[in-house]
Amino acid sequence: MDLLAFARGPALSFSLAIFVLGVIWRLVGVLALSPWNDLSPPREGAPPNWLSAIQAVFRKMIPHRTFLTAGMFTTANGYVFHIGLAIVVLLFVPHILFIRSLFGVSWPGLPNGVVFGVGALTAASLLAALAYRLTSPVLKLISRPNDYISWLLTFVPVVTGLAAAAHVGARYETLLALHVLSICAFLIWFPFGKLMHAFLFVLSRGATGVRFGHRGAQL
């Protein structure tokens, strides 16, 4: 079996299975905890819990104005690579075909040139995020291997994908195999590292929203 067949076959099956197992494990593990019973009466005029939760999820998408200027780079750069990743992952035709093979749904994609440009921007933005993490004294202090591994496993698929599309460094099938294998590593790490924030941010923001809302505090 050649590298590409290994990547598309056993490696991808295994890592997707680990991904599904891990994500469901952690989500069910959190959702099936004892319901949060605050026995104190809610503050007068407090919104219902579900509304507080939803409001918190969206309101937190823009930092509080106190931190807006100080955190401008982190916020803006964060948006750049998150949106970039979304475009590359969801609107590149080969990716859409991959998703279709798993879920049976598909949608139109973007021309390769556009996706390539967005991918390059995303890679640059990810590098900027790393540079910031390595230079900011506070961020450096609180960064753990988990953060760096999560960054690396996001960055490598972007770079190998760009290399495969641009056809540089090795034969196309080798680059494609490396790209798929880097996705496999990403998928295996995802549920157990900080990448899981892609799912958990909703729960954590919601929980914060409920607690604050119950006490009548504004977010």
Binding site: M1, D2, L4, A5, R8, G9, L12, S13, L16, A17, I18, F19, V20, L21, G22, V23, I24, W25, R26, L27, V28, G29, V30, L31, A32, L33, S34, V93, P94, H95, L97, F98, R100, S101, L102, P108, G109, L110, P111, N112, G113, H167, Y172, E173, L176
Partner: protein, 357 residues
């Protein structure tokens, strides 16, 4: 006077001048992308060469490779190669059969010891002592080993000989293997394809004849001149791929517009062959031009890549059961973790109550 048996003398006796070699040389240089300056060297090499003895062994195969190689009979530049070789054994094409045929093979081997070229089409079954394919009571494996002993070089023609091909496809009941696994140290050229492009065969043989050595090969033993680039890289539909214009089926708008066939399973991006530039049937067309995606027939294990119509980015094999199993296992683990956390919480609260008391 000693009989001059060079190819130049042979053609001259038929009233053909050395221009033929020059013309053939420029044809070979062109198809093998050799520098134009090599034309004269090629022509001179061929003119000075002697007719090359070729022993063609057909094993687990369908004769499609022979068809591809011999389908044109007009005396033209492309098949001048047939004047340059002496096909001493080919059990489909030769007039004699049975004992006489096998005798011809042995005679050619003895007369051209160390100088003949063995062409093989078809894979070789090695399971159960190689009993699944035999010629004149001799297993393919045995015949290959015997014939290779005094050969100068081996040319594996077609994907079966090069990589095992269809006989080697899952579950490979006969234990078929590629010729490369049995050649020992003999120089080997793989001309893969199902069937291979005749020009690739002509080019490789001519190079061998002119320069007495094997042309530059890729990591799978194929001449780089013909297998150096992917179908996708040289495909005239490539611009549609880049612009995101695809056929979603074989009868939709995209198909009629001649858009890229990537979504309907074209394996062009990972297939190395010269179809897109040389084309087939004297340059008439090639599969993609005729509206069908590339099957990847010149690549190893092309038969077991999950299906011809399955797009390249899709995973191989069925994902459903594995993922469903993983989901169930994940849910069970999650419930277990939550229950354990609840129990801890309960014990902790109970201990707090106790402390209060």
């Amino acid at each position: 006077m000693k009989h001059d048996d060079t190819l130049a003398a042979e053609l001259e006796r038929r009233g053909v001048s050395r221009r033929a070699f020059l013309k053939f040389g420029s044809y070979i240089a062109s198809i093998m992308a050799l520098p134009p300056s090599s034309v004269e060297a090629l022509a001179e090499g061929l003119a000075a060469a002697r007719r090359q003895s070729v022993i063609w062994l057909s094993f687990q195969e369908c004769t499609g490779c022979t068809e591809s190689f011999t389908r044109s009979f007009a005396p033209t530049i492309e098949n001048l190669i047939f004047d340059f070789i002496s096909l001493d054994y080919h059990h489909t094409l030769m007039a004699v059969s049975g004992e006489a045929a096998e005798e011809a093979r042995k005679e050619a081997m003895a007369a051209n010891k160390g100088k003949y070229i063995v062409v093989v089409d078809g894979s070789v079954p090695i399971k159960d002592g190689g009993v699944y394919s035999a010629i004149a009571g001799v297993t393919n494996k045995q015949m290959l080993e015997d014939t290779l002993k005094d050969a100068f070089a081996v040319v594996a023609v077609g994907t079966c000989a090069s990589f095992g091909g269809i006989p080697k496809a899952n579950p490979n009941p006969t234990g078929a293997v590629a010729v490369s696994e049995l050649v020992g140290g003999k120089p080997l050229i793989n001309i893969s394809g199902c069937p291979p492009i005749a020009e690739a065969m002509t080019g490789a043989l001519s190079y061998l004849l002119s320069f007495g050595k094997i042309p530059e090969l890729d990591h799978l033993g194929r001449p780089k001149a013909f297998f150096g680039e992917t179908i996708h890289d040289r495909c005239y539909r490539r611009p549609f791929y880049e612009r995101g214009l695809f056929a979603d089926g074989f009868d939709d708008h995209g198909a009629r517009q001649g858009y890229c066939l990537y979504k309907v399973g074209c394996k062009g991006p990972v297939t190395y062959n010269a179809c897109a530039t040389m084309k087939w049937n004297g340059g008439v067309s090639f599969p993609i031009q005729s509206g069908h995606g590339c099957l990847g027939c010149s690549e190893p294990n092309f038969w077991d890549q999950g299906g011809f119509y399955r797009p390249l980015p899709t995973p191989l094999g069925a994902m459903g059961p594995a993922l469903a199993g993983a989901a169930v296992a994940g849910a069970a683990l999650g419930v277990g973790a939550a229950l354990s956390a609840r129990r801890h919480q309960k014990t902790y609260l109970a201990s707090l109550e106790k402390e209060k008391e």
